[in-house]
């Protein structure tokens, strides 16, 4: 029989500390859908996604009730669409539309994989595909897009970096009526992972099997609560407590992932151990860092606290799951985390500090709103900096940035729901134009030569 402490702890985690399974994401290979024409392929894509994921909402609902743990999001990721669209890149939008329609039919909130992998070079069809991203994101509701522009093995494709700066500006411009909302669905990666269940960067890698279930757990609130319970502990004890907490959270994720895979006739892929915040108070990574002893996230010591948190989460999680993957760490999306929003508003969290933080946690500059007059070259340079951190440190980094049209520092943009509200934060005004114009490839670092 179970003891009171254990049972009540689980119930408190769910009821008071926002423990949830953040996402159950079904990865679906679209490679068998490629056929003669764009129209036929689009139809096959729609049919395949609708058929394979037809029970995802029903099954996750059942699991949530049976195990007493909320499952917040049900999602689908697909093979990078640039590969599917290669024979008819000028009609890529048809595939985008088909995917969005499938997401609506299934009743899921996001579908990821309108993506291209161009970390070493860009074929003409990929260039054409990437050019379609702004219109496709403006015309669709639930489709997410990502582009991988660098890797530790190949270096950074600076031509793609330059192009992505322009694509982000264009996406913001044509979704200006919604404060550049399209950009919230577009991620630029270095070292993108093939089994990430989290949006907007999820896609189903070509090395994956046909249909896979990947689960993203969460629980910043649970970690924060655990730290609160030992206010005078030293940092080694704190790390131990975080590890133990991450273990429990991950075990819940692993259980749900295995059961979901079984009921949905898919393979169990991975559990992603990320601490993903929401704009709700008490569900914030920033508040964990502040609980560790910082007056405000962004001040000196933030990077060290985040490094410790990220590592402890991984250590606890790795022990708990047979397969760990995805991004696995702490997310620091500014607009989706109440503590980050407040720190940015009071000016204690700036883009340079965020960049430093991305060197020690999972992912990168995420959901950051910058002034509408930020140039494409500056955005490209921000992407290049982030990619350099990822490339040199053998980790995933990403940029999801919103140059909010007609907004300036002091304003804010509100996307609602999980995407939250972002204060406009300043960027450096000095030009990076000449650097970005050079193009070419930043070669892979020497330590990537391991063969």
């Amino acid at each position: 029989m179970f003891n009171y402490g254990d049972v009540l702890e689980t119930i408190n985690m769910v009821e008071k500390e926002h423990l949830d399974i953040r996402t159950v994401t079904m990865g679906i290979s679209l490679l068998p859908c490629i056929c003669g024409t764009a129209e036929k392929t689009a139809q096959k894509v729609y049919d395949t996604v609708c058929k394979k994921a037809e029970n995802i909402v029903k099954v996750t609902g059942e699991l949530s009730r049976e195990y007493g743990i909320p499952i917040v999001n049900k999602r689908v990721s697909v093979t990078p669409a640039a590969l599917i669209c290669a024979p008819f890149a000028d009609k890529s939008y048809l595939i985008g539309k088909a995917l969005d329609n499938a997401a609506k039919e299934l009743g899921i909130d996001f579908l990821g994989g309108y993506s291209a992998l161009v970390h070493k070079g860009m074929a003409d069809y990929e260039k054409q595909f990437i050019s379609s991203i702004p219109e496709v994101l403006a015309d669709t509701e639930r489709l997410c897009s990502s582009v991988n522009i660098g890797s530790s093995k190949s270096g950074i494709n600076m031509d793609a970096v330059k192009l992505m700066g322009e694509i982000i500006k264009k996406t913001a411009a044509i979704t200006a009526d919604k404060d550049g909302f399209g950009c919230a669905k577009l991620v630029v990666f270095c070292n993108a992972v093939e089994d990430n269940p989290f949006m907007a960067g999820a896609f189903h890698g070509v090395g994956e099997s046909g249909t896979v279930i990947n689960v993203g757990v969460s629980g910043p609130g649970v970690v924060q609560h655990a730290i609160e319970s030992i206010p005078d502990a030293d940092l080694s004890e704190l790390a131990e407590t975080i590890k133990r907490t991450a273990f429990k959270i991950t075990r819940a994720g692993q259980l749900i992932a295995k059961e979901a895979a079984k009921r949905l006739n898919a393979e169990f892929g991975i559990v992603d151990l990320s601490l993903a915040p929401t704009p709700t108070r008490g569900d914030s990574v920033a508040q964990i860092l502040e609980e560790m002893g910082l007056e405000s996230v962004g001040t000196h010591g933030t990077t060290a606290c985040l490094a410790m948190l990220n590592d402890a989460v991984k250590k606890g999680g790795v022990m708990a799951s047979s397969r760990v993957g995805g991004l696995s760490g702490a997310f620091i999306p500014v607009s989706e985390d109440i503590g980050m929003i407040e720190a940015a508003e009071r000016g204690s969290l700036c883009i340079d500090k965020l960049e430093a933080m991305t060197a020690v946690c999972s992912v990168g500059l995420d959901m950051i709103a910058v002034p509408g007059d930020t140039t494409a070259a500056t955005i490209s340079a921000i992407i290049a900096d982030e990619a350099a951190i990822g490339m040199i440190n053998n980790k995933t980094t990403a940029v999801r940035i919103i140059p909010a049209p007609d907004k300036k520092v002091g304003d804010s943009v509100n996307f609602g729901g999980l995407l939250g509200r972002a204060p406009i934060i300043p960027v450096h005004n000095e030009s990076s134009e000449k650097f970005i114009k050079r193009g070419g490839l930043i070669p892979a670092p020497i330590h990537s030569n391991k063969n």
């Binding site: 179970f2 009171y4 009540l8 702890e9 689980t10 049976e66 007493g68 819940a252």
Partner: protein
């Protein structure tokens, strides 16, 4: 299939009687039961077997939560595996 029923709330007379009658009506067999008062609060954990019941686990969870509201208690029914997973190495 085994599930864990947890009942927490302000202590009063007849809680166990009401809960066990409710479970018996649905063919749910109680395997183990443990109850205490924690800081003035009634806390009970039951291990139950659903194999003789026509009610599925998710429906039972919904019905018990609803019944709990009526008697002013918080009642959860969860698959036992969630506790095994989270609290046993």
């Amino acid at each position: 299939m085994h599930a864990v029923v947890t009942v927490v709330g302000k202590d009063k007379t007849g809680i166990i009687a009401k809960i066990s009658a409710f479970l018996a009506e649905r063919g749910v067999n109680i395997l183990d039961i443990s109850q205490t008062i924690l800081q003035d609060y009634f806390a009970m954990i039951m291990l139950v077997d659903l194999s003789g019941s026509d009610t599925g686990l998710s429906e039972l969870a919904d019905e018990c939560a609803e019944m709990g509201k009526k008697i002013g208690m918080s009642v959860h029914v969860q698959h036992e595996e969630i506790f095994n997973a989270m609290h046993k190495v």
